[in-house]
């Protein structure tokens, strides 16, 4: 898809640079001339939104790091100093804390879009796997970031999660102590989490670069899930995608601003405004909302080691999604049965999120077990079998044909082998 750069430097300076380092040409071919399918809908704008959020998180984070102190005895106070005495400190911190939330919100939409339209299928398997890697890095980064304010939830979340590693047979205890840097979660733990919290976003940025590279090699999928057949099927990235992405990003910023300015503590837990206390366990230890489905899976399993395995498997299974889904048709638009299972799966994930926020007792536990079983059933049984038995609907011959049929300029779409 990428093809050779059509960029023609006009000024002398640009010509000089282009012969030595064709960086303007690279930007031109990637973000200006890059051909995008002309039928992309607004669900495709989340890539741009996520890029924006990553940059925003890094910028606010770097400034916060100038004021934050990562010692157990001072961390909580330094965050309060940021909130009270640093110029615009309250804004920076609320942007950063809520930024993590909307970042996850966007990434989940991005992933579900990929699942609905089969964006992980040939030839985009590596693109998808890089995306799952980014998710893993985001989870690690967000978890360690949540520990930094050193409130009660910070401390106990760190305790619960690092304790998971003690479930590993034989070396579990040693690994956990190695993670802690001591005999319990303490200042040493906080310090290393801070160091890693600063490092990981740059690793995310690196994998994002690979993700975008892979995207530009394979080309974007589209709502019809059929390959781009001709130049007619595409539009140049600029201005078409640029302006649409900008509009969507601004709308997304309205949501972000709504949270930051009017509901800055809506997604947080009140207990995190209580300084960390290793002698006082909170009544309910709950993670941030974006980890709740995984937390429900962890607690659904009555055995600690198996619970931890299920937790990691819930993410690991995503790596294999391109091969677990045996259907050769990408888009759910043409897969009537898959489309229903997709929505069931989405509801199951929401249900797990709700259960993760509730105490692990009685009916909640039973419901968690049923939904956890379904989560894995979806990937391991339903998707492989469905691809073999489902009869997909006929797909249009090309993107252009489908568009013209829709806007009434041409013949209606007829059956043709689209996706393969």
């Amino acid at each position: 898809m990428e093809g050779h750069s059509t960029y023609q430097p006009r000024s002398g300076g640009a010509r000089w640079l282009e012969r030595r380092l064709p960086i303007i040409g690279l930007v031109h071919s990637s973000f200006i001339a890059y051909p995008t399918p002309r039928n992309l809908n607004y669900w495709w704008t989340f890539g741009a939104i996520l890029t924006f959020m990553l940059v925003a998180q890094i910028v606010t984070g770097i400034v916060l790091a100038m004021h934050y102190v990562s010692a157990g005895s001072m961390a909580f106070d330094s965050v309060e100093a940021i909130m009270r005495d640093v110029n615009w400190g309250w804004l920076l911190r609320y942007l950063h804390a809520n930024g993590a939330s909307v970042f996850f919100f966007a990434v989940y939409i991005h992933m579900f879009r990929g699942m609905y339209y089969g964006s992980y299928k040939e030839p985009r398997e590596v693109l998808w796997i890089l995306g799952v890697l980014i998710l893993l890095l985001m989870i690690a980064t967000a978890f360690m970031g949540y520990v930094l304010p050193w409130g009660q939830m910070s401390f106990w979340a760190a305790t619960v999660i690092t304790n998971l590693f003690s479930a590993i047979p034989l070396v579990g205890e040693s690994v956990t102590m190695w993670l802690w840097g001591g005999f319990a979660v303490d200042s040493a733990t906080l310090n290393r989490f801070y160091s890693l919290h600063y490092l990981l976003p740059f690793m995310i940025a690196g994998v994002v670069a690979l993700h975008i590279w892979a995207l530009h090699v394979a080309g974007q999928n589209n709502p019809l899930g059929i390959d781009v057949k001709s130049k007619e099927d595409t539009l140049a990235f600029t201005p078409y995608a640029t302006i649409k992405d900008t509009f969507a990003t601004v709308l997304f910023l309205v949501l972000f601003a709504w949270l930051v300015f009017f509901l800055p503590n809506y997604l947080g837990h009140p207990d995190n405004y209580i300084p960390a206390n290793s002698l006082k366990t909170p009544a309910h230890i709950v993670p941030e909302w974006y980890f709740l489905p995984f937390y429900a899976i962890l607690r659904a399993i009555p055995n600690k080691l198996l619970g931890v395995i299920a937790l990691f498997a819930a993410i690991a299974v995503l790596f294999f999604l391109p091969w677990l889904d045996t259907s050769r048709v990408r888009s759910a638009v043409f897969r009537p049965i898959y489309r229903q299972f997709f929505w069931i799966f989405a509801l199951v994930c929401l249900g797990l999120g709700y259960l993760g926020s509730q105490p692990a007792e009685g009916g909640y536990i039973i419901a968690s077990r049923i939904l956890t079983a379904y989560y894995f059933l979806h990937f391991l049984i339903i998707l492989p079998v469905l691809g073999l038995i489902e009869r997909p609907k006929p797909r249009p011959a090309s993107i252009t044909e489908a568009i013209l049929a829709k806007s009434g300029h041409g013949a209606p779409a007829h059956a043709a082998g689209g996706a393969s």
Binding site: I243, F247, V254, Y266, K304, A360, E361, I365
Partner: protein
């Protein structure tokens, strides 16, 4: 010095207060240790429901929702209310609770209590601040300055715990560190109605929630204080701190427990979120800017895409 009107008889007051607190703390100690045991059972591990006989959920009652001047898009602190709340804090709460993150200079914030520089300096000077070490290596006390923070009633948590059984928590962040759970439906609605006042509602409910007939199934240990609004159980260590007429208001506001509780809750919202007014003011401007920006982008997008079928 009557600007901030000190309690007429602080000594008696403190003595009465701490005596009740001590008795209460002993009674609650038993309940608290039981609560800790429950917490451990609820954590992840060998799983499943640990079969607790306890069926009561805390808080036993939902706090009533009050109308706060600082709620909503255009929310602002009510200056007179904050000043009254500060008076209640100073004459009642400060006997046991600190507000260590608040500096005297913060009282001059025009979005908050709005005192003049002179008033703040005079107030700060009433407090004794431990400073040092001086040239001979000794700590010394001096009158407070506006740049100082409010000194806590106890030098450390252990000293407070030694008097009361359990250390009375610092109140600076209380309005953000507490709040009754709202349930899934209200949680969704709260996003649109911008409900962020769970903290002050909780504090007000707690302060006015003493003296009720205990729920069926609740046994109050001798010296314990039944309070159906308390988040962590039916009985709280803190004895009822307020009584009608305890604090004399100079602006003619009713001198009732309910009014004191409302005023001090608003004051504690301010100590927890001193930049709330600036935040909402900026937020409104940002939303307006984004709305205009989004409209322009949408029109541009339509223009760009007008020529192509998609």
């Amino acid at each position: 010095m009557s600007l901030f009107g000190k309690d007429t008889d602080p000594v008696t007051r403190t003595a009465r207060h701490s005596l009740i607190a001590m008795i209460a703390a002993i009674g609650v100690g038993l309940g608290a240790s039981q609560a800790v045991a429950e917490d451990e059972g609820a954590g992840h591990g060998d799983g499943a429901a640990t079969g607790q006989a306890e069926t009561l959920h805390y808080p036993l009652e939902k706090p009533p929702l009050l109308d706060w001047s600082f709620a909503g898009v255009f929310g602002k602190y009510d200056r007179a209310q904050l000043q009254r709340g500060f008076q209640v804090y100073r004459q009642v709460c400060s006997q046991c609770h600190g507000i260590k993150y608040v500096a005297f200079r913060n009282l001059a914030d025009p979005d908050g209590l709005g005192y003049s520089e002179e008033q703040v300096a005079a107030l700060a000077a009433e407090y004794e601040i431990t400073d040092g070490p001086n040239e001979s290596g000794d700590m010394f006390t001096r009158p407070g300055r506006p740049s100082d923070r409010f000194p806590s009633p106890f030098p450390n948590e252990q000293a407070a715990a030694a008097v009361y059984g359990a250390a009375p928590p610092d109140l600076s962040l209380m309005a953000k560190a507490r709040g009754a759970p709202r349930g899934p439906l209200w949680t969704v609605i709260d996003f649109f109605t911008q409900y962020q006042e769970a903290g002050p509602n909780y504090i007000h409910a707690l302060l006015t929630g003493y003296g009720q007939e205990p729920h069926a199934g609740v046994t109050v240990p001798p010296g314990g204080n039944y309070n159906p609004y308390f988040l962590s159980g039916p009985v709280i260590a803190m004895p009822p701190p307020l009584a009608d007429g305890d604090v004399t208001y100079s602006d003619g506001s009713p001198q009732t427990v309910d009014q004191y509780a409302t005023d001090v809750s608003a004051f504690l919202m301010w100590t927890a979120e001193p930049h709330l007014v600036a935040r909402k003011r900026l937020g409104f401007q940002v939303i307006i800017f984004l709305a205009i920006f989004a409209t322009l982008m949408y029109l541009t997008k339509r223009r760009v895409w007008a020529a192509v079928a998609h």
